[in-house]
């Protein structure tokens, strides 16, 4: 059983790495929204774009940026742990904005979960007990 648990946990790590890397790369291959251009103003010089790109860390190769992102998530960055980076828009740590809002999100998710559990479990119990296995033959329907 322990081997099973460890194997599943390792797969979690693999899945997380695959999902995060795909998500990360998508933003580099989608139609260009270069944040360096966006945050260099409406009429930036090439030098200003490069300066912003450098300050945002976007001048590093994409694999290096990704590796730094993963490292910061687990080990923290200059803003603390977890290292979720820096918002270009608000010029403040993402961590502060995230944790400032996560409580409300959890409350909403928890409340929603209570409702669907309160509705779903009784319905499932009621109708599940009336259906045989496969194909479903349910008594009391129709």
């Amino acid at each position: 059983m322990w081997r099973y648990i460890v194997r599943r946990l390792l797969w979690v790590v693999v899945v997380l790495l695959v999902v995060t890397s795909i998500t990360y790369v998508v933003f580099f291959v989608m139609p260009s929204t270069d944040p360096a251009v966006t945050f260099a103003g409406k009429n930036p010089t090439p030098e200003q774009i490069e300066e912003v790109r450098h300050q945002f860390g976007l001048d590093k190769p994409v694999p290096v940026q990704y590796a730094l992102f993963i490292k910061h998530v687990f080990l923290g960055d200059q803003y603390g742990w977890p290292g979720l980076g820096f918002s270009y828009s608000t010029r403040s740590p993402v961590k502060d904005q995230f944790f400032g809002r996560v409580l409300v999100t959890v409350q909403l998710a928890f409340g929603a979960a209570l409702i669907w559990l309160a509705i779903g479990i009784p319905i499932g119990r009621r109708w599940g007990s009336r259906c045989s296995s496969w194909p479903p033959q349910c008594s009391g329907w129709g």
Binding site: D34, T38, G41, N43, T45, E51, Q55, T90, P122
Partner: protein, 627 residues
């Protein structure tokens, strides 16, 4: 027992559904208040506003921040040597002395500007000292510093001697700026620059205290520590510990993701200022990502005014049709042109006749209808908005007139017949270059709604476009990259930086402004073969792209103090652009819409920023600034 359990389950289900309904339902909207007539404004109260997103691109650091919403807020916090009256229309675009005692002494060759600062203008706490000429000079040192990314630094580089935007640190003095004493500042220019007084009215040129700003060496970092010298300051600024850089923490009254609260600057002396009335005790700007909610709260009396968000169509409908609500809807010129841009290096738009035909055929009334009607703007008949040109072209100037502004297909076809892309001279573009043309557009309602009108208009003259809708910033970066060679685009608009036509002409039509990325001269007016080669593109064989560079230089010799001559000069450039270059099809001079509540006893629009005039408005809400 089973029946009772069943009943309990049904009751539970009903309760759950009731909870969901309660959570999702909203409160009733109350009406917009009584008559909307403005009572005599009185001091007091708090001007409560909200915005869906500040949208700052430089963290609210005045050295680099280029967003109009920020410029409006700076008007309450910062005094520039020359400023504005923060009122609507042409009067709101007139330059007046603000920090300076009077308009400067200008040398006869136009190369030296000497200002005397007013006495009695003080920094808000914790600084508690006079604003000096060295504070103004330090602002320019920051503009000149590369890591601080002064987004409109180009207005000063190569203009003020010693400014090139390449300084490594704000400690480096600008050689062309002299401060012989605390109340005198002298600017030495490289060349006559007629609109220089406008350039120093921009917020980046407002004084900055070195003792605070020296701690912030990267773009945007100073934005949460901005010190004030005008009538309002960020709440909590007085508690900023300036004893050392490490001691400073972001000022509590500003969180870019949540709110900005301004309170009165206790060191402000009204006697030194004729441009700000300062009725309210405080100004709050909350971030509310739900635009519907913003307008609901204005109607309910929780907010006094919207700022930059356009009202949703159902809300607008109410205010346009309900006589009791109409006085609360304000529609003011935004000094902005929306346009369709056509690329001179991409066939068939490398042919002036095709460009002119596009101007003839465009159904501008249809586009305005898609926008929502005249509340949103006036049909544009030339490139530069009338107020910015001082109305020098007059209201009758329209080089491409048509019945009801629906486009003139006959005239368009006459023009197209002269084009090399109409081989059989039937007035319809029949070359393969006229088909499958990518047209960049935004994927948001108004632009997507206008698209069908533009597509069908162009089809009448045989130009077949393939719209590609992108998010706004993606659309801009796509057309701003010269190598992409985007033929035509519907997403773009341009608002003035300051009320001089050069703030349109220089970035949009001067060939010397063309850069590889971030370019705003989308049609590539004035592009030379050498420039094209350096940019990695080419000009189609046999095509000479027209230029207005020499015309711009001629107009720039006229000082801003001779406004009529400057306006006439730039009006002639606009005419030349419309009739000989056809860089765009301009279709709308946009209006900014603001909705106020019944608590507003004095409404005012700030023509310079294009939003509400915080320092001129009054309310009767008796609110106090939140602690």
């Amino acid at each position: 027992m089973g029946k009772r359990r069943q009943q309990a389950r049904l009751v539970g289900l009903a309760l759950a559904l009731a909870l969901v309904a309660a959570a999702c339902g909203g409160g009733d909207d109350e009406g917009g208040g009584s008559s909307g007539q403005q009572a005599t404004p009185q001091k007091g109260g708090v001007l409560r506003t909200a915005i869906s997103d500040f949208g700052f691109t430089n963290g609210f650091d005045p050295t680099g921040e280029y967003v109009a919403v920020a410029i409006g807020l700076y008007g309450a916090m910062e005094r520039t040597l020359m400023g504005y009256k923060h009122v609507a229309d042409a009067a709101g675009n007139e330059l007046v002395p603000d920090l300076a005692e009077a308009a400067p002494e200008i040398s006869s060759d136009g190369l030296k500007y000497t200002f005397k600062l007013k006495s009695g203008v003080k920094w808000a706490p914790p600084l508690d000292r006079d604003v000096t000429s060295k504070d103004v000079a330090y602002a320019f040192q920051r503009i000149n510093t590369a890591p601080l990314v002064a987004q409109y630094g180009f207005w000063y580089y190569g203009v003020v001697k010693g400014m090139d935007g390449k300084a490594k640190s704000a400690d480096e003095k600008v050689s062309g700026i002299e401060t012989p004493d605390d109340s005198t500042i002298i600017f030495n220019l490289e060349k006559p620059t007629g609109d220089f007084l406008y350039r120093i009215s921009m917020p980046a040129a407002a004084p900055i205290p070195e003792e605070v700003a020296k701690c912030f060496k990267k773009a945007g970092d100073y934005g949460r520590y901005v010190m004030s010298n005008a009538s309002y300051m960020i709440q909590g600024a007085d508690k900023l510990d300036i004893s050392s850089c490490s001691a400073m923490k972001p000022i509590s009254g500003f969180d870019p993701s949540k709110q900005l609260t301004l309170v009165r600057n206790p060191n402000y002396d009204q006697a030194t200022d004729t441009t700000r009335a300062n009725y309210v005790d405080g100004i709050t700007v909350a971030v509310d990502t739900n635009v519907d909610d913003i307008f609901s709260r204005v109607q309910a009396g929780d907010l006094d005014s919207s700022i930059a968000d356009q009202p949703p169509k159902p809300v607008l409908q109410q205010y346009l049709t309900d006589q009791a609500k109409k006085p609360f809807l304000h529609s003011n010129s935004g000094d902005r042109t929306w346009y369709i841009t056509m690329n001179w290096i991409t066939p068939p738009f490398d042919d002036i006749h095709v460009r002119k035909a596009a101007n003839w055929v465009m159904d501008k009334a249809g586009i305005l209808q898609a926008w929502g009607g005249s509340t949103f703007g006036d049909i544009a008949t030339h490139n530069i908005p009338p107020i910015v040109l001082g109305d020098a072209l007059g209201s009758d100037y329209n080089p491409y007139p048509s019945e009801g502004n629906r486009g003139d297909e006959a005239k368009a076809k006459e023009e197209m017949k002269q084009s090399k892309y109409d081989s059989n001279k039937d007035g319809v573009c029949d070359a393969k270059e006229c088909s499958n043309l990518v047209m960049i557009n935004r994927n948001t309602p108004v632009y997507a709604d206008s698209e069908a009108v533009v597509v069908s208009s162009l089809e009448k003259i045989g130009i077949k476009v393939k719209p590609r809708e992108l998010a706004s910033s993606a659309a801009y970066t796509t057309i701003q990259t010269v190598k992409n060679k985007i033929p035509i685009a519907l997403n773009a608009g341009w608002g003035k930086d300051f009320a001089d036509a050069v703030s349109f002409v220089l970035p949009l039509f001067d060939g010397r402004s063309i850069i590889p990325t971030g370019n705003t001269n989308y049609p590539l007016v004035g592009l030379t073969a050498d420039q094209a080669s350096n940019l990695g593109v080419s000009i189609p064989a046999g095509v000479t792209i027209p230029s207005v560079d020499a015309d711009v230089d001629a107009c720039q010799k006229i000082p801003a103090t001779q406004a009529d001559q400057r306006n006439e000069c730039f009006a002639n450039i606009d005419k030349k652009l419309m009739e000989e270059v056809a860089p765009w099809v301009p279709y709308l001079w946009a209006k900014n819409i603001t909705i106020t509540g019944s608590t507003v006893t004095k409404w005012e629009f700030d023509q310079f920023s294009g939003y509400l005039a915080y320092t001129q408005m009054a309310v009767n809400n008796k609110a106090t600034v939140p602690s």
